[in-house]
Symmetry: C2
Subunit: 377 residues, 2 copies
C-alpha cells in the first residue's frame, strides 16, 4: 500500500484557534486555469498624487484638509461602520430568532507615510516602527473610551482586497462588543489553557497555564527548518504558514519567546524586532510574484486593557490568556494575476486549499528579502 503523502493525498486539518477544518487537495494545483484573471496591481505610482485624498495637504472626501504630515497620520473615517453614542436602544425582538444588539464605537484610518508609493514592503524599518507606535497609541486611546471592548487593527492592501486607495494605510475599528472571530479565538485559547498538555519548554501564559499559540510557535520554531512551515524568524518573532492555513500563502506572525497579550505589552526591543519582521515578510510577499502583493492583515490580541481602577492583578486577568498574533490573508495563488477563489464549496461547506502549507512556506523561504524594485540591475 502507498504511504501517506501530504502533497498528494487529500486530507483535512483542524484549526484549533477556530475549531474549523480546512480541506487540503494538493493534487488540484495541476488544474489548468481558464477563469478570471486579475488586473495588474498599480505599479508605477507617483510619490505624490494630487488626486489622492490621503496625500499630505490634500482635501479628503469629507472636505477636511490633511496636514502636511511627515510620518504617520490618524483621522476618523468619514464613513465609519460604527458610530459613537448616543445609540438608541433597539425595540424588543419580534421573535426570539430575530434579535438586535446595539453596537457603538469608532473607526480610524491610519496613514502609514506621506509617500503615496511606499507600502510596508518598501518603507525603511524606522518608519515601520512609527506605525507600530501609532497602533499602540490608538489601541490604548480607543480602549480607554467608555464602553469600548475590542480594538480591531487591520489593513486591506490592494484593489483586489477592496482597498479603494493605494496610498499605504490601515484601519482601526473599535467596538462595544468583541467581534465573532477574536471572540471564538479567545474561547479556544481559554479552553486550551485549562487542559493538561505534555510538558514542553514553551513559554506559559498567566498563572503558569499553557498557551496554545506559545506552544504552537515553540513547536514550529524547533521543527525542521528545511521542510517546515517557518518562513522567517528573528530574536522575538516568527512568521509561519500555519498547519491549518486557508489562503494559499497565508501567514501567521507572532512572538515566540514569551507570552505577550497585546501590543501594549511589547518592550522597546520587541517593537524594533516587530518592525524588522514586518519588513521582511512584506518584502518576501512582493518578491513572490514580483508585484505589490495584496492581502488583508489583522492584529488579534487581548480585548482592551483594564481601566486603571480595576483591581484584578495582571496574572489573574483572564484576558491576558490572549497571545498577540497577526494574520495575513493574501488571495493570490499562482501568479500576480491568478487568485484563489473561496466560493461555492468554501462558502457553503468548508475552506479548501490547493497547495500544502509546507509547499507555500518553502516558496516564501526561497524569496529574497531585497525588494525586487530596489534591486541593482
Amino acid at each position: 500500500t502507498t504511504p501517506f503523502d501530504p502533497s498528494t493525498h487529500p486530507h483535512r486539518r483542524l484549526n484549533p484557534l477556530t475549531n474549523e477544518y480546512v480541506l487540503v487537495s494538493p493534487h488540484r494545483t495541476k488544474r489548468p486555469w481558464l477563469g478570471q484573471t486579475e488586473p495588474p496591481q498599480s505599479l508605477n505610482l507617483p510619490e505624490y498624487d494630487p488626486q489622492c485624498y490621503l496625500c499630505p495637504g490634500n482635501t479628503r472626501a469629507g472636505g477636511q484638509k490633511n496636514d502636511v504630515y511627515e510620518h504617520t497620520m490618524v483621522f476618523e473615517n468619514d464613513f465609519a461602520a460604527v458610530l459613537p453614542p448616543p445609540c438608541p436602544a433597539p425595540p424588543p425582538a419580534p421573535h426570539p430568532l430575530l434579535t438586535t444588539e446595539p453596537v457603538q464605537g469608532g473607526c480610524d484610518v491610519l496613514i502609514f507615510h506621506p509617500r503615496h508609493d511606499l507600502t510596508l514592503a518598501r518603507l525603511p524599518v524606522l518608519d515601520i516602527e512609527r506605525i507600530i507606535e501609532e497602533w499602540c497609541t490608538v489601541y490604548k486611546k480607543r480602549g480607554a473610551q467608555e464602553g469600548i471592548e475590542y480594538v480591531q487593527i487591520f489593513e486591506n492592501k490592494g484593489a483586489i482586497m477592496g482597498c479603494s486607495n493605494p496610498h499605504p494605510h490601515g484601519q482601526v475599528w473599535s467596538l462595544s462588543a468583541i467581534p465573532s472571530l477574536p471572540g471564538s479565538e479567545l474561547t479556544n485559547l481559554r479552553r486550551y489553557s485549562l487542559t493538561d498538555v505534555a510538558p514542553s519548554d514553551a513559554p506559559r501564559g498567566p498563572l503558569g497555564r499553557p498557551c496554545m499559540l506559545c506552544e504552537y510557535a515553540h513547536f514550529e520554531v524547533g521543527a525542521d527548518s528545511e521542510t517546515g512551515r517557518v518562513v522567517v524568524k528573528n530574536d522575538d518573532w516568527v512568521a509561519l504558514v500555519p498547519w491549518w492555513a486557508v489562503w494559499p500563502f497565508e501567514i501567521m506572525l507572532l512572538p515566540y519567546k514569551r507570552h505577550i497579550p497585546s501590543i501594549a505589552h511589547l518592550t522597546a526591543e520587541e517593537k524594533k524586532s516587530f518592525a524588522d519582521i514586518l519588513s521582511k515578510v512584506t518584502k518576501r510577499y512582493d518578491n513572490l510574484f514580483s508585484c505589490s502583493f495584496a492581502y488583508s492583515m489583522g492584529i488579534h490580541q487581548r480585548p482592551v486593557l483594564p481601566s486603571s481602577d480595576t483591581a484584578i492583578p495582571e496574572d489573574q486577568d483572564e484576558d491576558n490568556l490572549a497571545h498577540l498574533h497577526l494574520h495575513f490573508s493574501p488571495p493570490l495563488l499562482r501568479s500576480a494575476s491568478v487568485r484563489k477563489f473561496l466560493v461555492g464549496f468554501e462558502m457553503m461547506a468548508e475552506p479548501q486549499r490547493d497547495l500544502t502549507p509546507e509547499q507555500a512556506a518553502a516558496r516564501l523561504r526561497g524569496c529574497s528579502e531585497v525588494h525586487y524594485l530596489d534591486r541593482e540591475v
Copy 2:
C-alpha cells in the same frame, strides 16, 4: 431621544444557524466608491461554443468527448478535490495541535442544459425540474457509496465567483466527513430542537420537536409582506433575505409548509414548486442590475440517507432534524460592476453589511419576474 431606526443606526444581528454575528452599518451605503470595479459579466453568449468543454459533443480538458446530451449531463470532475479510496492513513500527529484527518469521496459536475447561454434564470421551468431530478439522483447515488457522509451540492455562477466556464453547470462534492458549516448548522438545529419554544403553528420536526428553520420561515411568511424580508413565495417554498444575511442580496430558500430533511423527501408537487421558485428567484436576481447575476449557491440538508439495513425508525433518526434549505451568496452591492468586499474587518473580526436585509428584500420584491433579455421592446 431619537428612536432606534434599523436603517440608520449600526447594530448587530445573530445568525442562529451558525451562532455568528453580522455587523449592520446601513448608513455606509452613502459612501462614494472609488475602488475596483468588475468587468461586465459575459452577455451575448452563443447557443453553442465550439471551444467550450461542456457543450454537447465537445472534448473535455481530460480528453473525454461529451455525449450529444439533450437535457442534463453528469460527469466526474477531472480535477476532483477529493478522491475515492484507497486513502493511505496519515502518520500520527507530530504534536496534538497538528492533526491530519484522512478524507475520501468524489466530485461530480452537473451540466444544467445543452444550451451554452441559458442559465437557471432563462431556462424553462420544465428544464429546472430535470436539474432537480439530477440533484436527487446524485444525492442518493453518492450517499449510498461506502464511507460517504455528506453530499454538498453547489453552483458557482459568474467569473467573479471563480467559475471558469459560463456554460451553466453546478457541482457536487461528496465527502467521508460532514464539512464544518453544515456540521455547525446541524449542531445548532439539534440544540434548538431540545429547547422550549413558545407554541406556534409552525411545522415541527421529528418526534414533534421544534425546528428552528420551520419556526423561522413560518414567522417570516406571516410577517408584514410590505416591510418584511420575504422576496417571493409559492405553495411550498419561500425565498427571503434572512434577518442575519451577510451578502447584500443574500437569499435563503426553503420549504415552509412542512418539515423536509432532504431533497429525497420532496413530493412530486414540491419538486415542481421548487423549480418554479428557483426560476423566479434567479430571474429577479438578473433583473436587479440587468446583468447575469453572479452568486454561489449551496444546498444544505441532512447527511446521506440511512442505508437500507439501518433499523432506526424515520422519526427517531436524529439526522432528520435537518431542514432542507438553499443559500444564495451573491457579491454585487450597488450595480453590475460594484461588489461588496468581505475583506479586512470581515475576515479578521466579523462580517459587516451596508444595507439592511429589509432594504435588500424590498429591492428584490420590486424586480420583475420576466427576464430583462426576454422582454418585448
